[in-house]
């Protein structure tokens, strides 16, 4: 290692350190505040207490709401990954005129549907379909909104899979679905994992759709429960909010670590062109 490399390496670590600090700094509040008896916006080293946690656990909706979030997130992720993968594969391999224009238009439309103005049509539609107060209904609406972007992203991954793989698989008599499952999916696993995590994150934080479509408080996900820790005048109860935020974040981080470990975002090898 030359001295220049050495200095470069030091500089690199300093930069990584700074970036890490940038991402970590705002989160300090989340680490300290849940254990603080008198939480405020000030960052303080608290006299540690678990009082906020026991107060939170007294809320009978707290833990079930996390389970509800998991159900909605996994349901949506399964639908989005499965449907986006098949659709992206098909769109990538079979040329349809105007395909890209169509995809992009759908993507743009999805940005409209996330807005409050679209809540009236969505509610009325779900009402006519009898899907009010149904988790399935929430999963369908969320999936519909997320699919265009998922297809968009996955198509890039599909495009980069060498077609020679599939040609050889065909020679051995594999069906189209077998090719997708056994040849293409393993190659684009990082892309699928990205889509899965992205879907879960989007569902996890979504307040408006489940709130408008669900009626039974026992079905509401954690993102909705989070909005209830306020007073009648709208002042936040920082003790409960910070504590629940901590619990709220853990499942997603665990899911991410699991997906990362199992499917690995870094996938080397396999592709030789």
């Amino acid at each position: 290692m030359t001295p220049r490399d050495f200095v470069g390496r030091i500089g690199f670590y300093v930069l990584i350190g700074l970036v890490t600090a940038f991402f970590a700094l705002p989160m300090l509040w989340l680490v300290g505040t849940p254990f603080d008896e008198q939480p405020g916006l000030a960052l303080s080293v608290p006299d540690p207490t678990l009082g906020n946690f026991s107060e939170l656990l007294d809320n009978r909706f707290a833990l079930p709401s996390l389970l509800n979030s998991v159900l909605l997130a996994l349901g949506t992720a399964v639908l989005v990954v499965a449907f986006a993968a098949t659709a992206a594969y098909s769109l990538s391999r079979v040329r349809i005129p105007g395909r890209d224009v169509l995809l992009y238009l759908l993507l743009l439309l999805s940005s409209i549907v996330t807005g409050t103005a679209a809540m009236v049509p969505i509610f009325l539609l779900m009402f006519e379909l009898g899907l009010i107060d149904s988790r399935v209904g929430v999963v369908l609406v969320l999936s519909g909104g997320l699919l265009p972007a998922a297809i968009f992203i996955l198509k890039d991954f599909m495009d980069s899979v060498p077609k020679s793989y599939e040609e050889s698989a065909r020679v051995f008599g594999a069906s189209a679905f077998q090719i997708l499952r056994d040849v293409v999916v393993p190659v684009i696993r990082p892309g699928l994992a990205t889509i899965a995590v992205w879907t879960i994150v989007n569902v996890w934080g979504n307040f408006l759709v489940p709130f408008i479509l669900l009626r039974d408080a026992d079905k509401q996900p954690a993102a909705v429960l989070m909005r209830t820790f306020y007073t009648e005048g709208g002042a936040p109860n920082l003790a409960l909010i910070s504590t629940f935020s901590l619990l709220f974040s853990i499942p997603v981080v665990v899911m991410y670590l699991f997906v990362n470990r199992k499917y690995g975002f870094r996938f080397y090898g396999g592709i030789k062109s």
Partner: protein, 470 residues
């Protein structure tokens, strides 16, 4: 044409058909006695309250008292009633959207909690009907009405028809820190008689370092808090409501509005208030924390501030010394006698209530449940956990006797109080008022800000026809 393009074409057609559903047709008046003889009845109550969260006492009251007690009473009469509670406990605007959607589709709970300010717009939209149309004339016979003051009843009425039963009331006053007042040589039983005397007190407090003399909510970041705990209480102190129901006009660029904005200019221009705080997204919460920490001298708020913000143990900005240190006093009119109806002191009130869903299957039973919820017995039970102002005078007399602050609100403030107009355009007017105060706080002369406000009101109403200006 591809399959996808075809699907899109079909969906477009469907969308155009569906747009027919956007509006609502007037429905036939239905039989108010429907389901009255049923022996198996299911009723649902919806409120913006949730156990363990926002308005938790109300949610617990419904779940632990109202439902079991009512079910038991009905069983004694041989009726098998199931009562469900649909809890929400979120931001008021979100709750409003949700129940609006429920009501427009003819679904939703049988008994729905509604902010008084929404009654007009919900009635105009046809989402709710006068109680006599839902239940029948027997509504008039309820003995609870005589316990509820007319002004409070008016909060759940529209065009002189009762749409619901009010569920409490409140009032706005000036809170002040007696410790700081003592340091500034001001009396502990302070009662200003005019705006000028508020400014005088502010100037006296200015000498104490680290203290903001006056917190007068301003700006758009504070949202409705600026309007309800700032502009409107001042405006009624000049003798005008924001909307004159008799004349059908909104306040535009009038002397009254300019007077209010001039008061803002004097508070913030003389350094009696903290202009930065008004622009922060969490400014209101910070003002609460600062008042609790003893660094704000005078603050205008509703009794909610006393009950749930600086409440010594459970408040969001608890103030252990609240009872000794915090004083409260009526808001004076601009000058003695200049207030609404020649009053010397003024206030604004709000509060919610319960309406019946016109689409209920069991109007009679729903009304029975509603009157039970508003009986003296049930109301007393509701406030057992912590005193607050109820809609019923008999209950107030009993439970507020030990609570000087709330008795003060009930006896001295509520009778002076005015209410906001419950019209759909009101939120836009409110935003225009907030912007005008922000302009003044950030240095615009009041005349200019008032002229700009007038333009905003004209845009909101689509013309100057219904605007008073001079």
């Amino acid at each position: 044409m591809t399959r996808i393009a075809r699907i899109i074409a079909i969906m477009t057609g469907l969308a155009l058909v569906a747009t027919g559903c956007l509006g609502q047709s007037d429905e036939e008046p239905s039989d108010t006695q429907r389901g009255a003889e049923a022996t198996e009845v299911t009723l649902t109550i919806a409120a913006n309250a949730v156990s363990g969260g926002k308005n938790a006492e109300e949610a617990d009251w419904i779940e632990n008292y109202v439902i079991p007690t009512f079910v038991e009473q009905q069983q004694a009469d041989g009726v098998d009633v199931t009562v469900e509670f649909q809890s929400s406990g979120v931001d008021d605007e979100d709750y409003k959207s949700k129940i609006a959607l429920d009501l427009r589709t003819g679904s939703g709970a049988d008994i729905v909690s509604l902010d008084g300010i929404w009654v007009g717009e919900f009635a105009e939209a046809g989402y709710i009907l006068p109680l006599t149309e839902v239940v029948g004339d027997s509504v008039e016979d309820w003995d609870g009405w005589e316990q509820i003051p007319d002004a409070v009843q008016a909060n759940m009425a529209f065009n002189d028809e009762r749409y619901g039963v009010p569920a409490g009331s409140d009032g706005r006053v000036l809170f002040f820190n007696k410790d700081l007042f003592a340091q500034a040589g001001l009396p502990a039983d302070w009662q200003p008689a005019s705006w000028e005397e508020i400014l005088d007190a502010g100037r006296a407090l200015q000498g104490i370092s680290g203290v903001t003399p006056i917190q007068l909510n301003a700006g758009t970041a504070m949202g409705e808090a600026t309007t309800m705990q700032g502009v409107l209480p001042l405006l009624v102190g000049t003798g005008q409501r924001i909307y004159d129901e008799d004349a059908g006009t909104w306040q535009g660029n009038t002397q009254n509005v300019r007077d209010v904005l001039t008061f803002y200019q004097r508070v913030y221009g003389e350094g009696l208030g903290d202009p930065t705080l008004q622009q922060e997204a969490q400014g209101r919460d910070k003002s609460f924390a600062e008042f609790a920490a003893g660094t704000i001298g005078i603050l205008m708020e509703g009794d909610y501030f006393w009950r749930s913000v600086i409440e010594p143990t459970a408040g969001v900005a608890p103030m252990p010394t609240r009872d000794e240190v915090v004083g409260y006093t009526k808001l004076p009119a601009m000058t003695p006698g200049s207030g609404l109806d020649g009053q010397d002191f003024v206030s604004m009130s709000g509060g919610g209530g319960w309406v019946l869903n016109p689409a209920t299957e069991f109007p009679q039973q729903a009304w029975e449940l509603l009157t039970f919820m508003n009986s003296a017995e049930a109301t007393t039970e509701l406030v057992a956990g912590g005193a607050r102002l109820t809609q019923r005078e008999d209950v107030n007399d009993e439970i507020l006797a030990d609570d000087p602050m709330l008795s003060f609100i009930a006896e001295e403030v509520v009778p002076l109080s005015a209410y906001r107009p419950g019209l759909a355009v009101y939120p836009q007017i409110s935003v225009a008022l907030q912007q005008a105060t922000l302009d003044v706080v950030t240095g615009m002369p009041p005349d200019e800000a008032a002229a700009k406000y007038q333009e905003a009101v004209e845009a909101a109403l689509g013309g100057a026809d219904d605007i008073a200006s001079d």
